[in-house]
């Protein structure tokens, strides 16, 4: 259960095509993350799978059956929304029970499932509260509880963590990953945060303007980005791009070097630059260096490296880990 195939689906709003013909296969049990800048169509794609938007053309099949015309209620998918979308007039318990009630499940079974979900999500003490009396993290847990009780074919998450503060976000990220390990159900997760994508996904789908730029495992995308866009989007801090004469030395229109693949020296190296900002995090040091003839470059050094604003440093790329791109921005193998 939980195999979803999209065949040549498109979506237009009026005259504007937001999803050009697109094919994608999501396998059973996979954790798939749709990632891309805002407006890239990732949420629209999720809503098409959910059935909350109708496709303009193409076919969506879920577990081998054509679900293109099936209303959302009958697709057997559960969704967690960015705003949590809890029913404000119902208690936590009623919120979680709602999908079971809609499925006309046996009341004893309803009780059992709600109790089990509440236990997993640490909500047992809050079952009689209203959503308005809960914190953001608790509300998110209720939304997840409402999704898991149904044992759906797949979970759809629409930027579920973006309303939470940074610390809570990391916690919830772990909880969702653990949940996936336990349930082994297909999960489709939409985010604009590439860190969430890298840490949670089995498979990342990078989208831009409705197009799939690349599909692959997090490390595949990190090591072998298909083009400049993916190279720049995946990885933090962002990859450095260099064009012109220095790129031509490597037989490319553009070369890309990740901040962690630059060697730093105070005495010698390929490029000479001046440190503008040095961020000392203890575990890492991030340097922003103004190299003559380029934009500012970012360098990541493991551990501590004592330089400060105004110091001169030399940078050398690790030739093994350098990415080369042609004029169209495509990777040169």
């Amino acid at each position: 259960m939980g195999n979803i195939v999209l065949k040549q689906i498109t979506k237009s709003f009026g005259d504007v095509q937001v999803i050009p013909p697109l094919d994608l296969e999501i396998n059973e049990g996979e954790f798939v993350v749709f990632v891309g800048p805002s407006g890239c169509g990732k949420s629209t794609l999720l809503r098409l799978i959910a059935g909350l938007e109708d496709v303009t053309s193409g076919e969506i099949s879920i577990d081998g059956t054509n679900a293109t015309e099936v209303p959302p209620a009958k697709r057997g998918l559960a969704m967690v929304f960015q705003s949590y979308a809890l029913y404000p007039h119902m208690s936590v318990k009623k919120n979680i029970t709602f999908p079971l009630k809609m499925a006309k499940m046996d009341p004893a079974e309803q009780e059992r499932r709600v109790a089990a979900a509440a236990k997993v999500l640490n909500l047992t003490d809050y079952l009689h509260r209203r959503p308005g009396q809960l914190s953001g993290g608790q509300r998110q847990r209720v939304a997840i509880g409402r999704a898991i009780v149904r044992e759906p074919a797949a979970f759809l998450f629409d930027e579920p963590l973006s309303n939470l503060d940074a610390a809570l976000r990391v916690n919830m990220r772990l909880e969702i990953s653990e949940l996936h390990q336990t349930l082994k159900t297909t999960m489709i997760y939409v985010t604009h945060d590439q860190v969430e994508a890298m840490t949670m996904a089995d498979k990342i789908v990078v989208l831009q303007a409705g197009f799939i730029e690349q599909v692959g495992s997090p490390l595949e995308l990190y090591h072998n980005p298909r083009n400049k866009f993916v190279a720049g989007f995946i990885g933090s801090p962002k990859m450095n791009f260099i064009e012109g004469a220095d790129a031509q030395k490597f037989d490319a229109h553009t070369i890309g070097i990740r901040p962690e693949h630059l060697t730093l020296s105070t005495t010698e190296g390929m490029w000479k630059g001046v440190v503008t900002v040095a961020e000392h995090l203890g575990s890492d040091t991030f340097l922003y260096v103004n190299v003559e003839g380029f934009d500012a470059m970012t360098v990541r050094v493991n551990g501590e490296f004592s330089v400060k604003h105004g110091d001169t440093v030399y940078l050398s790329p690790d030739p093994e880990k350098l990415h080369r791109f042609d004029q169209q921005g495509l990777r040169i193998a």
Partner: protein, 276 residues
């Protein structure tokens, strides 16, 4: 010190509010007082405020001269009937406008509201002729229909505003949870919109109860509501203030009591859209 200033200010504001409140309520109070006077005292100059011979003879007279229960029932049927019929039409209309708007939804809403700007007397003759031809003159059904039409723009607008406040994601969540349209309406939207629906209902009962133009022009005896009952006491032979006041008091009492008990809902209804 600051506390004293704010207390003085509070007292002042309270006094002003009471003054305005009493000024607004005074005509109603005067009507009620006059209804307990004799006709002579009612037109006495200078008028006596509280010290007169209290009498209920006006009420007795009014009740013997006209059929108060009939008019009362007509008013109840017409106002509640037109409000319920209006809600029945307006809930689906407001629903579709709020959740599945089309390109011209805003224009339709404005157009609906613009019909309220038309002076009713402008369409009196066509409506009167239609009523005559369809045999609707002096019938409750006819009045229910006409008052529904008159108040429909307001009902649709109010419900539209309330529905707009309900986040679409919650309805989508219900759809994802397996709710069909019926379950979505009954278990999610309606409970969330109940305060809005209640204030719309109340306001429209009051508007229909007080409506005087159409009720006076389209009824004679059988279907005449309380507005016609009051009007029958301003006769050409001269005004009988005390009896007129007694009739008025009887006519406004039910709605005044209803309004008193539903103040909270009404305030929300009257300020719809203004505060969220």
């Amino acid at each position: 010190m600051a506390r004293n200033v704010s207390n003085t200010r509070k007292a002042l504001v309270t006094a002003v509010a009471w003054t305005i409140g009493i000024l607004i309520f005074f005509p109603i109070l005067w009507t009620i007082l006059t209804s307990f006077k004799t006709e002579a005292e009612a037109i006495a100059s200078p008028p006596s405020f509280l010290f007169f011979d209290w009498t209920v003879e006006n009420y007795v007279e009014v009740n013997s001269r006209s059929n108060y229960p009939l008019h009362f029932m007509n008013s109840v049927i017409i106002s509640i009937g037109s409000t319920l019929l209006g809600l029945l039409i307006a809930i689906p209309a407001a629903w579709s406008m709020a959740f599945v708007p089309a390109k011209r939804t805003k224009d339709i809403l404005m157009w609906m509201l613009s019909t309220k700007m038309l002076p009713p007397v402008g369409v009196l003759i066509p409506i009167y002729l239609l009523f005559r031809d369809f045999g609707l003159l002096d019938t409750r059904i006819g009045l229910v229909v006409v008052l529904t039409l008159i108040n429909l723009p307001i009902i649709v607008w109010m419900l539209y505003t309330y529905f707009k406040e309900i986040p679409g994601e919650i309805l989508e969540a219900a759809r994802m949870d397996g709710a069909g349209l019926w379950d979505e309406v009954v278990h999610v939207l309606t409970p969330m919109a109940i305060p809005g629906i209640a204030s719309t209902l109340l306001l429209n009962v009051i508007l229909s109860w007080n409506e005087a133009f159409w009720t006076l022009n389209l009824t004679a005896a059988k279907a005449a509501p309380l507005t016609a009952f009051i009007a029958s006491y301003s006769s050409p032979e001269g005004l009988f203030y005390a009896k007129l006041s007694a009739a008025s008091t009887l006519a406004i009492a039910p709605i005044l009591i209803l309004g008193w008990f539903s103040q909270k809902q009404l305030v929300r209804g009257l300020t719809f859209g203004a505060v969220k």
